[in-house]
Symmetry: C2
Subunit: 532 residues, 2 copies
């Protein structure tokens, strides 16, 4: 084998670095708008200059190679700050701002952050100032221009940039050095920190650009939180391509409709329920849109039709997970009208997908198993958790914890989270299949289906349902609906109405909390049954 | 800095390998056509299976990590063979088949090949059988199905595949191990072998897919030789995307027009003169085309207009070089109708471009200097030539040897090859500028402009011109044409008509041969002038 040891010069030539992407777009498109945030319109030259200034400030204060926490809602300042962190060779640790203070404290301490960028409003939230003060690290507070902070060991993001150079810092960085740690939203246990390198994130961005045909002409929605991989990867893809990202803080249907129209979005990404809410206004049309991406949950066929008629016929699911930087796969439901089910489709060009049994054998069409991936977008591992890292990497494939099956035409069908598959009377029941049937009832607003211990069936299918406001619906009617659409063993043994479901910030039902909350209720129900 | 040492499993998960790309497309698009070669239509499943079989044959015979020479004209077998080489972890060394035997011998020996894949017809060319026998390495001969070879130490490509597994070989390969060595066509001296890794080639492919918006719906032309980086990178990009490549052996206008129409090309790539020849038939239209790429030479404005009217309005220049795997930049002349000149436009998303002076300073708009690049598509270096490698990598930028200048709107303008810039009477004259003016004369078919030593001007601008058949043209008329379009110091001091120009297989005029051939003629001319 030829050995060509790369020189320092060659490493510099060939490096992949997330901060370079903004700089390269600024070289090509200095006057194109990179970020819209309310009245703020920041072009690439300015985003490049500001993020370089913040990078120089970090290099001066901290140097390179440290973790830097971030507690921010979507804003132009947040985009400046994380690009500055990347340009300085530090490691971005975005934190879900909706977590409770104990979870935030856990993540910042577990990640061993050397500084924190925090929104003024979040710093002022109950307990946060004390929590951050106890960390005893420098704070950079995002505040309105011209204001100052009285917080000890803190300066504003604007102050930090003051007097620093606009030039891209010239650092000796490696493509494989850590660029970010994202803590998984964690439906069970402590959150785990997925560590990604510059190269692993950039692999996903380039694959997204190729797979979704992104150009500098695109205008992206950015209303999901940027601390989540799904929104970050899309905004970063936009910025690699020289496109525009319109930042919103959360989902207010009227605001989103107005923004889509005013900014002429070409690409919208939202959860299925967001599409439903936007299209609830019968007058709403989005003629500028060329691509509607949905994520996180299956979407009813009827809603796809409405999106196609009133937004764009190019409707695509994008999948991914923090550990396998998104996107990983994409499905075009309009091209497979008869397929039904919960399909994830094809792999994007930068990675490969297989279905695997517990012994590492790859499975063919119709055989359920764990969905596994290979690709340069895989994380380096979980921070300080070699055991969980090794488990995710066994047999040389990234294990997603999702169950799936190859369907017709090489399209992947998602079955369930591995741990959410219900084993009842010797049969496997996919909780998501039962949920889809329940959501098909006009009176159901939301639901979570779990298996709870049952003396006879080992586990029993149990459904927890939120009714639509004003819906007249009882257990018997819903059970009849289920019997009409499901196999006998799939029909919930217990249907229980609740006011709300415990959910993560991205809308995933936290099934471990459902289990904890309703285990006793189920036991009582089974005891009553036996007595009857 | 967090250190996360990658496990063998993680290296396997995250590896980038050129052989994987075919395999991944076959998983998604098994029945889509990958290659058309005359009557042969090979789908992805078959290309994947055949190339895996050849890979297993190579692993059995040679193992991994060896250089394997290739002397092939474009064919489906050639595509099978180089993908097999990539899948086996060996290093592909394609050789320009039009070189003379001594140059072929030099390359195969310099590259230390352990085997050679050779077309039957090329093996039968004068001296080739002996040349290859003297190498004393196994030969794999591409021959018609069912035939056998009597050549010692040889088997046919089909025989090699016989009985081997269709499965992708599972090897411990690294993204950065060498994947190919391409010898530069070399307008001077011995050819140099540019070594690329799997990752460096793949970076270009993903950038091409993103930059040109390639999908599985595309049908690519492939009539330039596949041993050249320009055609290989496009076919490999097509194969990453699941698209079709239509292979032709050389350029016969009638055949190419018929193929474009029959196969419904969406993407055509050719030299400017090829577009001229195709469109010389006034009835020819190419309504299926969505992208017309030209390369290697500037293209007259008038021809762009005809391409736009009769082929597609999406006309783009693509640049690159063997050392910086193509493409590197792209220019859209239809978007810049007033720009004129020889523009290279913008960098593709996987790399960055700058203009540099000899001391490593980056230059701004209007300042001529060397065109340099950074990007993951840069070669590892020149094989066994650390000095030339270091020179190409100085200041942490890849040096192209081309002179350029930033023009308006951040578009890069190509000026000349660094060594072809003529220094005359204290002024710099770009040979390509003078050539463009000469080519603008209706009687000129081709030309090469060089500087030759002159007693008074240090160098003098000298033009060697091929007339169009039947054109009535003399030196005086052409000199007048030049005076009308060039500055006085740019007008050739010597205009000399020739029947043909020495050129490389990609159509580049070999100026070192022109210099050698006409140095004496010029000296005689200057002596005569003095005497006059």
């Amino acid at each position: 084998m030829i050995a060509m040891t790369p020189s320092a010069e060659l490493r510099r030539i060939r490096r992949v670095a997330l901060g370079d992407l903004i700089h390269r777009s600024a070289l090509k498109f200095p006057r194109r708008t990179a970020v819209v945030d309310g009245d703020v319109r920041m072009d690439y030259a300015e985003l490049d200059a500001r993020s370089s200034r913040f990078a120089h400030a970090l290099l001066e204060r901290l140097g390179s190679g440290h973790q830097i926490g971030m507690l921010c809602a979507n804003s132009a300042d947040m985009v400046v700050a994380y690009n500055g962190i990347h340009k300085s060779g530090n490691v971005w640790v975005p934190v879900n701002t909706r977590l409770d203070p104990a979870a935030i404290d856990y993540i910042l301490r577990h990640a061993e952050v050397s500084a924190v960028v925090v929104d003024e409003a979040l710093h002022a939230a109950p307990g946060m100032a004390e929590l951050l003060a106890r960390l005893a690290v420098p704070l950079f507070i995002t505040m309105a221009a011209g204001t100052e902070t009285a917080v000890a060991n803190a300066c504003t993001l604007a102050q930090a940039q003051h007097g620093q150079s606009d030039a891209l810092p010239e650092l000796d960085m490696a493509s494989e050095q850590p660029a970010l740690i994202m803590y998984t939203s964690g439906t069970t246990g402590h959150p785990k920190g997925a560590v990604h390198s510059h190269a692993s994130v950039a692999a996903a961005l380039m694959g997204n650009m190729a797979g979704f045909g992104i150009t500098e002409q695109d205008v992206f929605s950015a209303l999901l939180p940027l601390y989540h991989c799904a929104q970050h990867t899309l905004v970063a893809t936009a910025h690699m391509a020289g496109a525009c990202a319109v930042l919103l803080r959360g989902f207010v249907p009227d605001e989103v409709r107005a923004s889509i129209t005013a900014e002429k979005y070409t690409l919208f990404t939202g959860l299925p329920m967001m599409y439903g809410a936007l299209l609830a206004d019968p007058a709403f049309r989005a003629p500028s849109l060329r691509l509607a991406i949905y994520a996180m949950a299956p979407i009813p066929d009827a809603l796809i039709q409405v999106i196609a008629e009133r937004m764009t016929p190019n409707v695509q699911l994008a999948t991914g997970q923090t550990e396998m930087y998104p996107g990983t796969m994409t499905f075009k439901p309009m091209e497979h009208p008869g397929l039904g089910g919960n399909f994830w489709g094809f792999s994007l060009p930068h990675n490969e997908t297989a279905v695997m049994d517990d012994e590492g054998r790859l499975l063919g069409e119709g055989q359920p198993g764990e969905i596994v991936h290979r690709g340069a977008n895989a994380m380096l591992g979980y921070f300080k958790d070699p055991e969980a890292s090794a488990a995710a990497q066994r047999f040389g494939w990234h294990h997603t914890g999702d169950l799936g099956m190859w369907g017709p035409g090489g399209q992947l069908m998602f079955l369930d989270r591995k741990k959410d598959m219900i084993k009842t009377g010797g049969e496997n029941v996919a909780s998501v299949k039962v949920e889809a049937v329940l959501l098909g009832h006009p009176g159901v607003a939301g639901c979570g289906v779990i298996g709870l211990p049952h003396p006879r069936w080992s586990e029993a299918v149990c459904a927890f349902v939120v009714k639509k406001p004003g819906a007249e619906l009882d257990e018997q009617a819903l059970a009849a609906h289920c019997r009409a659409h499901l196999g006998g063993f799939e029909v919930p043994k217990l249907i229980h109405f609740v006011d709300a479901l415990p959910a993560t910030s991205t809308g995933k039902v936290q099934k471990h909390l459902l289990r904890k909350q309703f285990e006793r209720l189920a036991q009582e129900a089974w005891t009553k049954e036996e007595g009857a």
